[in-house]
């Protein structure tokens, strides 16, 4: 009975949303704000990747909020699982096999480089702090899978994420002091498409990358360190 009603409701919702499509300008959106960004985004921010321009410049505070959400989630996970950490004497997962260990060691530098590349070129090509940060986190987390007894130093992670967040806010405050506007673009725009261009955007993305990387690495290692349930 309950499933029936639920299906009915879900079907109804789907029906209404599909009917909605008839009245929506799909494929030819009005793009009022979008046109504006397309027209002036590159000039205003110096970023070739207009998505990055939007993420970091036009909607920089959204990104700050998003970082905070990730931060809050990581802090929440820490709070929830903090007491459930594995006791030192508890049985850990077995060490990974040779392939995993070798792969982790080999991949580590590769992943770090790729991650940094993605972060640094965020204003030019697809990718940026978030994607790069995830890759960086993977770089640091993979070895842990192989050697479960090792653990990341949560104090270091805490400082990295705290300072990276502080740098992001700090750049915003710097702008507030220098230009009177929080998170306004600073420094020269440079040449469109060059690595050192787009003012503070790459700096912001580096902060984002570090913060995301640190948070996700911390998050995963907290999960990894959690004692298995049901024991």
């Amino acid at each position: 009975m309950r499933n029936f009603t639920s299906l009915l409701f879900a079907g109804g919702l789907g029906f209404f949303l599909l009917v909605l499509a008839a009245d929506l300008p799909l494929g030819a959106p009005p793009m009022l704000a979008g046109q504006g960004v397309l027209a002036e985004g590159a000039a205003a921010t110096g970023a070739a990747n207009l998505v990055t321009a939007v993420v970091l410049a036009y909607r920089g505070i959204d990104t700050l909020g998003e970082l905070s959400i990730l931060f809050a989630a990581a802090a929440g996970v820490g709070l929830v699982l903090g007491r459930a950490r594995r006791r030192p004497d508890a049985e850990a997962d077995p060490e990974g096999g040779f392939i995993l260990l070798a792969a982790a060691d080999l991949l580590f530098p590769l992943l770090v480089i790729v991650g940094l590349y993605i972060v640094l070129h965020g204003h030019l090509t697809p990718g940026g702090g978030f994607q790069g940060g995830v890759v960086l986190a993977a770089a640091f987390f993979l070895p842990l899978l192989g050697r479960p007894r090792n653990a990341l130093d949560h104090a270091v992670i805490g400082w990295i994420e705290g300072l990276a967040g502080a740098v992001f806010v700090g750049i915003g405050l710097w702008a507030l002091a220098a230009r009177g506007e929080f998170l306004a673009p600073l420094l020269g725009k440079g040449t469109l498409g060059a690595l050192f261009s787009a003012g503070t955007l790459p700096l912001l993305y580096i902060a984002v990358g570090l913060k995301v990387g640190a948070e996700i690495a911390g998050l995963m290692s907290t999960l990894q360190e959690t004692e298995a349930a049901g024991s």
Partner: protein
């Protein structure tokens, strides 16, 4: 200090929040002081902006990108009032016994709540809304008892489902209008959102936001969460966070969806919320759940009041919301003191005269006894509903009044138990000084406001007049005096530069 500095009110608590866990590893006290300092600074910034605006309005283009493209913060009386309430209430309800992580989450919650009050961009509001949500999940789950974690998980799933709906609503609005800015939407709404699609978008957004705003029936988390966590956190969530979610709904209703159908949807759900909340509270057998359900009922009244179009509804809604903001957290603190099953509290209030007196005061005000502020709030609500004169509005008024009877019945039944002569209670709970002080402060403000009814009323009217002034909003945000000077580089190609800023908006944007 310019109006642009208002971004500090969001940024500083976030900054402190980011640093708090790391700092807390070496010194918990330092983290605590950092948080207090950030909140105090946030309050100071907001206060100075309030003083500087002196009843006017202003818009702040965050990052200097002019509003239809960038994100704008809109500052009027209503926004600043609630924004200012955030750091103050957060300081009062600071988790003293918490860990640095809890401090961080509280700070993040405060920053997000401030953002909710100020932001004038629907997606930015969504981000702040989610931030509020995630921070409150963390805070709820941080509580020791296992029931808190279960409640937090259920809350999270419900809230996340609501967020998906909210996101879908935003997608529909964006697809229709091509913009996210509330002011820009306000200019576009008359031609682009005045149809069933617009209404559907509003319904999606209302229900998404309603999860936090304790809107019936998407408030199943309320009794579970409020009876699992400490009185301080419950007070913070019930008092502050729910109001800010309501504020967002009201902004959307006034600016983007000024249709009678939209208001009616709010009215109907609010009315049902009153009925269900108050009745469930009548039946509740323990103090915390009684207050939790009562909170649902009160939020129902807030929704019903805000559903009245025009300044009358805003005045009534603000009055009810502020009154609830004052009383319910304090009641949760008192519930913390006594707690537990109502029948087990026989005589527990005897000998604790301050706490009992405060309880009586809040109960009287909630029921609406003149001359306490609760009465005026209720009177304004009923009057504005009757003035509106439609069938649903009258029904809403009747329900508000009938709920008052139920509310009086259960509140004073509880009070009768608390003050019963025969004592069946075990030893009363340990004395919690700070909690009682906070509750006393709320009581003092409540009583004090009786003597300032006239200025308060005038102030509310001024706020409401500002809040319903859609033209003023649009003028302030999209160009006109008070708007922050946009960044030179962000001018549109071919723009004249300086001067009239409306000219910067490309023709197709300004349409």
């Amino acid at each position: 200090m310019t109006a642009d500095a208002v971004t500090l009110a969001v940024a500083l608590p976030l900054l402190a929040g980011f640093l708090s866990p790391a700092l807390g590893r070496s010194s918990r006290t330092a983290a605590q002081w950092l948080g207090w300092a950030a909140l105090a600074a946030s309050a100071a910034v907001l206060w100075s902006v309030w003083v500087r605006l002196d009843g006017g309005t202003a818009a702040v283009a965050v990052g200097g990108f002019r509003p239809p493209l960038g994100i704008a913060f809109y500052l009027d009386g209503m926004a600043l009032l609630f924004a200012l309430a955030v750091p103050v209430v957060t300081l009062l309800f600071w988790p003293r016994a918490g860990t640095p992580q809890q401090f961080a989450l509280t700070l993040v919650l405060a920053a997000a709540a401030t953002g909710l009050a100020l932001s004038g961009d629907i997606f930015n509001l969504y981000v702040f809304y989610e931030l509020t949500a995630v921070a409150s999940f963390g805070l709820v789950a941080a509580h020791e008892a296992r029931r808190a974690q279960a409640a937090a998980l259920r809350y999270l799933l419900l809230s996340a489902a609501g967020s998906v709906l909210l996101l879908a609503g935003i997608a529909v609005v964006y697809l229709r209008t091509g913009t996210l800015n509330l002011a820009h939407l306000a200019t576009l709404a008359p031609e682009r959102l005045q149809d069933p699609v617009g209404l559907a978008a509003f319904a999606l957004m209302l229900l998404g936001l309603g999860v936090k705003a304790e809107l019936f029936p998407v408030n199943g988390w309320v009794p579970e969460v409020y009876s699992s966590v400490s009185g301080r956190l419950a007070g913070l969530l019930a008092g502050l966070v729910s109001k800010l979610a309501v504020l967002v709904v009201v902004r959307a209703l006034v600016l983007v969806f000024p249709r009678p159908e939209a208001a009616e949807l709010m009215l109907v759900l609010g009315t049902l919320g009153i009925v269900v909340g108050e009745l469930a509270a009548w039946r509740a057998r323990d103090l915390r759940r009684q207050f939790a359900f009562s909170s649902i009922g009160q939020l129902g009244i807030v929704f019903v009041a805000f559903s009245v179009p025009g300044p009358a509804g805003i005045v009534a809604g603000l009055a009810v919301a502020l009154h609830h903001l004052l009383t319910k957290p304090a009641l949760f603190l008192l519930a913390e003191r006594w707690g537990g099953a109502i029948e087990g509290l026989r005589g527990a209030g005897r000998g604790q005269w301050l706490a009992s007196t405060l309880f009586i005061l809040f109960a009287l005000s909630l029921v609406g006894v003149p001359p306490l502020p609760g009465f005026w709030a209720k009177l304004l609500t009923v009057m504005s509903l009757m003035e509106q004169g439609t069938g649903p509005a009258r029904a809403g008024a009747v329900v508000v009044m009938a709920a008052t009877v139920v509310e009086a019945a259960y509140l004073f039944r509880t009070l009768g138990v608390l003050l019963a002569r025969e004592s069946g209670a075990e030893s009363p709970q340990p004395h919690r000084g700070p909690d009682l002080a906070t509750a006393s402060l709320a009581g003092l403000i409540l009583v004090g406001s009786v003597f300032a009814l006239r200025p308060l009323g005038d102030g509310l009217k001024a706020l409401a007049a500002q809040a319903v002034d859609v033209d003023g909003y649009v003028r302030t945000v999209l160009g006109g005096p008070g708007m922050a000077v946009s960044h030179p580089a962000s001018q549109a190609p071919g723009g004249a530069g300086g001067g009239a800023r409306v000219a910067h908006v490309p023709p197709e944007i300004a349409s």
